[in-house]
Point group: C2
Chain length 203, copies 2
Amino acid sequence: MVGLRERKKQETRAALSWAAIRLIVERGYDRVLVEDIANEAGVSPRTFNNYFGSKAEAVASRHLDRLLRMADTLRERPADEPLWKAITHAMIEEHRPGPEVRAHPRGDRDVWTAGLRLMFEVPAIQAATLRAGAQAAEAVAAAVGARTGTDPATDMYPNLVAATVLAAQDLASKTFMVTGQSINVLIADAMRQIAAGLPPPKP
Amino acid sequence: MVGLRERKKQETRAALSWAAIRLIVERGYDRVLVEDIANEAGVSPRTFNNYFGSKAEAVASRHLDRLLRMADTLRERPADEPLWKAITHAMIEEHRPGPEVRAHPRGDRDVWTAGLRLMFEVPAIQAATLRAGAQAAEAVAAAVGARTGTDPATDMYPNLVAATVLAAQDLASKTFMVTGQSINVLIADAMRQIAAGLPPPKP
DNA sequence: TGAGGAAAGTGCGTGGCACGCATGTTTGCG
DNA sequence: CGCAAACATGCGTGCCACGCACTTTCCTCA
């Protein structure tokens, strides 16, 4: 049962995050005040900091949500599916624009890549994004642990897998941004190389 | 030729970083002002921000330096050494306390682990540390690219290797912090698993 | 060797941010 | 319907990051 309270809260959170991204893409990071974002989202400036600890965190929160959904998706893959196949599926799955993206006005490719660019180029946002990745890695490690019968608290294995997966995700995004190749292909390629032990290319 | 100017600068930088770590370990992150750190390092508060953009960055800078030295070390390994062996060597090499650590009063194990703890537990420092890792990853990718004849700008391979190596480094540190196992053993183990393609454990 | 210039250190001022606290307002539940 | 908890808001505060102008220190080259 999801109360109206919880729903409103998620809406406000999403509105703030969207507003932050949109305004910062338009004007640049330090020409956007917290006040602007709050106004855009129809909420008081003080409320902004009830949801996010900083502008950067607001921008990164959409990334975090996506990664956490990926971890959930991984949990729901059939248990007898091979690990690497399940992970690759989960990753690709979450790169399809969700309903809230389609519902949003002008949530198209340009805005998406512009947002990506922020994540890699604005120092404060890069830091927040990486931190989101670290949080998500815990969730992924838990999922991998559940699937392989290893304990993330004592065993490096699931954490290694999680960290590697997150790295592949970041790298595929970065490469997509630069070369424009299909992100699904990039992800699949990265995962294939990792599962093969990253052997040096034979020249 | 290294002028006195450059030397002084590095000394000030190191003094600020040390002061930041020491004070924050003692009192906690938000009970240390930039002013305190500057005083401790014998420099004006304004000067602090000529070296670092934030308290967190000052703490993370030692980590960054270490990782960059690791990239250099990797470049200097014999060219005919297998890639994974060279990387593992470089990683372990840089985990020996350098001369500036031994020279420093009380630069012992407890301070080291306390500093590590900061990196994982204080949000702002975690973010700065991760960002340092991302910077270092570029240097490592360049070294791997040089060694394998791949181009980090266009090829995912060296970047995948770099990201994975950095992840192993972080994870080994974290595991060391929790379990107290030998960091060298942890690094070697992590690298072995990665080079083997992270196969799921057969129960 | 000493004068010019670049780089580093410093003091001051400012806009903005993160957050504690107190208060009003909405929501869920018995 | 009414109460308690959760949430939104306003206000105030301490700190921070940084621009600018000025002084001091060091390097270079004629």
